[in-house]
C-alpha cells in the first residue's frame, strides 16, 4: 500500500489528525483533537466510556462527518473520500462477521477475486491461529475465534491503517490477555499501522507503542506507557491511570515522596509499603482480599487514602507504619 505517487516525499507519513471535532446535534463528542500515527506504529486511544474515543475512530474511518479540522494520510487530506476508498480497516468490538458467509467468505471479502485470494485467506487464518477454518460457519465459532476471524478479515486487504474499536472488550479476562499478546504479535508481523481504542490500560500498554489519553472529548496527553505513568500531564490523566492521592510538590510531606519541586506528586497503589520503621503512619480503612494478597486502604495524614499491598491480615482501625516506594510516585507538572 505504498502511497509514494500521491504524497511524494511528503512532510508527514502515516495518519494525521488536525484539530478534529465531531458533534452530534449540539453535543461535542470530540473537541479539537490532534494526533499523529507514523507508519508502522500502533497508537492506543485510552479513555473512559463516553469520552469520544469511538467517535474519533469512526471519524478517521469516514463513518462520522467532521464538524471541523482535517484528517490526512501521508499528507493527503481525506475530506470527501468515502470510507471504502480510504484503505483503512476497522475491527468492531463484536466483530460484525457476515453470518451468511463462511469463514473464508468473510476473510476474503476485502481481497480482490483471483488466484491469490485463497492463499491470502489461508495465510491470514494461519497468522491468527485458526489454520484450516475456511469452511466453518460463523455461527459455530466461539467468541475468541470470531474476533480472530474478524482480525484476519480486516487485515486481509492489507489496509494502510487498521482501526480497532475495543476489539477485546467483549471477551472474558483470560482470553482477553492472551488475545492482546496475539494482537501485538500480528500487528508487528504485518507491519500494520494501527489505532486501538480501549478503556483498559493493560490492553493499551500490551498492544501499543504510544498511548493517547482521551478525557471528555479532548486528548491531554500522548506518550509512551512509561512516560505516561511517570509523568501524567493532568490530574484527570493520573486518575484515569489509577493514581489515588495528590500532594502539592511544595508541601512538607513531599520531601518524603521524592523531593520538592514543581506541580503535584501523585501516588499509585503500591507507592506506600508496610514497614515497621517507615517514616509515615496511617489508619487502616478497609481490607479487601484480591488474588492471594490483601488490598489495604490506608488513610495517611497530608496525603489521603492510598492502597497498600499486604500479605498478612491487617485489621480495620489499626495504625500502620509505611515507607515510600519512590518509583511508584508520579509527578504532574504545571
Amino acid at each position: 500500500m505504498e502511497q509514494g505517487a500521491v504524497s511524494g516525499s511528503g512532510p508527514v507519513s502515516g495518519l494525521g489528525v488536525r484539530s478534529v471535532s465531531v458533534r452530534y446535534g449540539d453535543q461535542t463528542a470530540v473537541d479539537r483533537v490532534d494526533l499523529d500515527v507514523p507508519r508502522g506504529r500502533v497508537l492506543a486511544l485510552l479513555g473512559p466510556s463516553g469520552c469520544g474515543k469511538s467517535s474519533l475512530l469512526r471519524a478517521v474511518a469516514g463513518l462520522e462527518p467532521l464538524a471541523s479540522g482535517s484528517i490526512t494520510f501521508d499528507g493527503v487530506d481525506l475530506a470527501g473520500v468515502a470510507t471504502h476508498r480510504r484503505g483503512f480497516g476497522l475491527l468492531f468490538q463484536d466483530g460484525q462477521l457476515f453470518a451468511h458467509r463462511d469463514v473464508a467468505g468473510n476473510v476474503g471479502y476485502g481481497v480482490p477475486r483471483g488466484q491469490g485470494r485463497a492463499a491470502r485467506v489461508a495465510e491470514l487464518l494461519g497468522l491468527v491461529g485458526l489454520p484450516g477454518f475456511e469452511r466453518r460457519e460463523v455461527a459455530t465459532l466461539s467468541g475468541g475465534e470470531r474476533q480472530r476471524v474478524a482480525l484476519a478479515r480486516s487485515l486481509a486487504p492489507r489496509p494502510r491503517l487498521l482501526l480497532l474499536d475495543e476489539p477485546l472488550s467483549a471477551l472474558d479476562r483470560s482470553l482477553r490477555e492472551r488475545l492482546a499478546d496475539d494482537l501485538r504479535r500480528v500487528l508487528l508481523a504485518t507491519g500494520t499501522t494501527a489505532v486501538l481504542v480501549t478503556h483498559d490500560q493493560d490492553e493499551a500498554f500490551a498492544v501499543a507503542d504510544e498511548v493517547a489519553v482521551m478525557v471528555s472529548g479532548s486528548v491531554p496527553q500522548v506518550d509512551t506507557p512509561e512516560r505516561l505513568w511517570s509523568a501524567p500531564a493532568t490530574r484527570q490523566v493520573a486518575e484515569l491511570l489509577g493514581y489515588q492521592a495528590f500532594v502539592p510538590a511544595d508541601a512538607p510531606v513531599a520531601r518524603l515522596l521524592g523531593g520538592p519541586g514543581l506541580g503535584q506528586l501523585t501516588l499509585a497503589p503500591g507507592a506506600l509499603v508496610l514497614d515497621p520503621d517507615g517514616p509515615l503512619h496511617g489508619d487502616v480503612l478497609r481490607c479487601v482480599p484480591r488474588r492471594g494478597r490483601l488490598d489495604v486502604t490506608v488513610a495517611v495524614a497530608e496525603i489521603g487514602a492510598v492502597t497498600v499491598w499486604a500479605r498478612l491480615g491487617e485489621t480495620v482501625g489499626q495504625t500502620v507504619r509505611l515507607r515510600v516506594e519512590t518509583a511508584a510516585v508520579g509527578r504532574i507538572r504545571g
Binding site: V6, G110, R153, P157
Partner: protein
Amino acid sequence: MLGEPTPARLRDRPWVARTAWTLAAGVPLAFLVVFFALPVVAMVGRGFVVDGAVDLTGFTEVFSRPRTWRVVGLTLLQATLATVLCVLLGVPGAHTLYRARAFRGRAALRAFVTVPFVLPTVVVGVAFRALLQPSGPLGFLGLDHTLTAIVAALVFFNYSVVVRSVGGLWERLDPRAVQAARALGASPLRAFFTVTLPALAPAVASAASLVFLFSATSFGTVLVLGGTRFGTVETEIWVQTTQYLNLRAAAVLSVTQLVVVAGVLAVVARTQASRERALPMIEPGRREPDAAGEPGSRVVTVAAATVTGAVVVAVAMPLVALVLRSLRVGDGWGLDHYVALAAPARGLGVSALEAAVTSVRVAVDATLIALLVGGLLALVLSRRPARPGARRALAGLDGLVMLPLGVSAVTVGFGLLLTMARPFGLDVDLRTSPLLLPVAQATVAVPLVVRTVLPVLRAIDPRQREAAATLGAGPGRVLATVDAPAGLRALGLAAGFAFAASLGEFGATSFLVRPNDPTLPVVVFRLIGRPGLDAAGQATAAAVLLAVLSAVAVAVFERLRSRTVGAQW
C-alpha cells in the same frame, strides 16, 4: 488490495448516489401517486365538487340518513368484536404454536392456521355460506346472514395475524426474565401478567390494530355473507356506486373510512415504534427457549393448548364444509361441479378454468409490479439518512405507503375508471388496457411487500454495512453483499403474499375487470348470485380451485421464510 488511489478516483461523486436514490424513491412514489392517490382524489372530488365549486352539503345529506349511521355502527361493531375475539383466542394460540415445548406437527399446524389469511375474501364468504346455510352442516344453528356469521368469518380470516405476530415475539423472548420474577417469589400467573404480558403488549396492540383495520375494511366476505341487512362502509360504498350511482354518498363514505383508517394506522405506527424498543431476546438460531422450565407453567400450557385445539377444529369446519358442498351433486356425491368448471358458465361467456388462467396471468403481472415498487420502497425506507430533512421525508413516505391497505379498494377501482379515461388530458383511453387491472391489484399488494421486506432490511445492523465499507466495498457492493442476501429471501416471501392478494382481490377488480375476461373471484361472486343448486355447487367448486391456487402460491414461497427473520405477517 486497493490499488493506487489517484486524487481523481479518490473523490466520490455524491451526485451519482443522490441520483440513484432519488430514482429509487421517485419511481415507486410516482407509481403510487398516479395509480393510487390521483384516482382516490378524483373519486372523492366527484363527491365534493359540484359545477366547479366545493360543495360540502354531501356530508350533511349522507350523515342525516339513518342508513349511514347504521352502516358505520355495524362496521365498528363487527371490527371491534372480531378484534377482541382474535386477541383472546390468538394469544393462547401464540403460546401453544410458538412458545410451548415443540410437538410433532407443530409446523404443520402453524401453516394450517395461516391458510385462512391467504384465502381470497370471496372464498371465505362462500365457505361460511356452505357451512351455515340451512342445508349446510351447521344450518340448524340458523346463523346464515347474521352478525355472528360475519364476525366468525372475520375471526377465521384474521386469527393468524395475532398468532404469528405475537408468537414470533414470544418465541424469542428471553425466558430468564420470567425466571427472575419467579425467583423473586412471583406466582406463574403474576409473572405472566407483570413480565410476559408487558413484553408482548406492543405486538398484541400492533396485531390488534391490523385485525381491526382488515375487519373494518372487509369487502368480499361481508358482501357474500351480509346479504342486504349487514354491511361495512366498504360494501356500502360499493352499493352506493354500483346500485344507486350515488357518487356523492360514496365519496363521503370514502372520506369517512379514510379518517378511521388513518387513525388506526397512526396507532399502528406508534406501537411499531415502541416495538423496536429493545427487549431481552434470544439470539436467533441459538437455542430453543425452555418454556417448560418455567415453573407452574403446566396449567397454562394445557389451558392454552385446549383453546388452540378448539380453534383449529373451528378453522377446519368452513373449509371442510366448502369441499363437501362442492362434491355434493343432487342427493349424491360426485365431481360434476369440477367438470363443469371447464365448460363456459351460463351467461358468463367464459369457463371458470379460463377465468382461473386470467387470474393467474393478472396476478403474475401484479406481483412483478408490486415487487418492483414495494421492493424499492422498502430499500429506500430502510435507509437512515443523516440529513434531518431526508429523515422527515422518509417518515412521511412510510405512512403514505401503508394507506392503500386501508383506503377502500372500491374507491381505488372506481377512481381508476374515472382518471384513466383521459389520463392527464391525454387522448388515450387506458380503461381497456390489459395492464390496468394488474396495476390496480399491485397498489393493494405494495403495502404487503413493504411490510414483509422492510423489517428484514431494518434488522440488519448498520455496522455490517460499515464493516463492508471499511473492507473496500463501494455502495453497490454493500447492497449486493449485505442487504441483498437478507432482502431477497424476504422478497421471495413477499412475492407469495402479493400473488395471493392479487389472486383474491375483489374490490377494485370488480370495477376494472373486462366483462368478457373476468377473474376467478368475479366468477365465484357471479355464480353465487345465480339461483339454482347447480350454480351454487359450481360456485363452491370454483372457490375451492381459487383457494388451492392461493394456498399453493403461499406454500411455495413460505418455504423461503424459514431463514427469514423479522417479517410480520
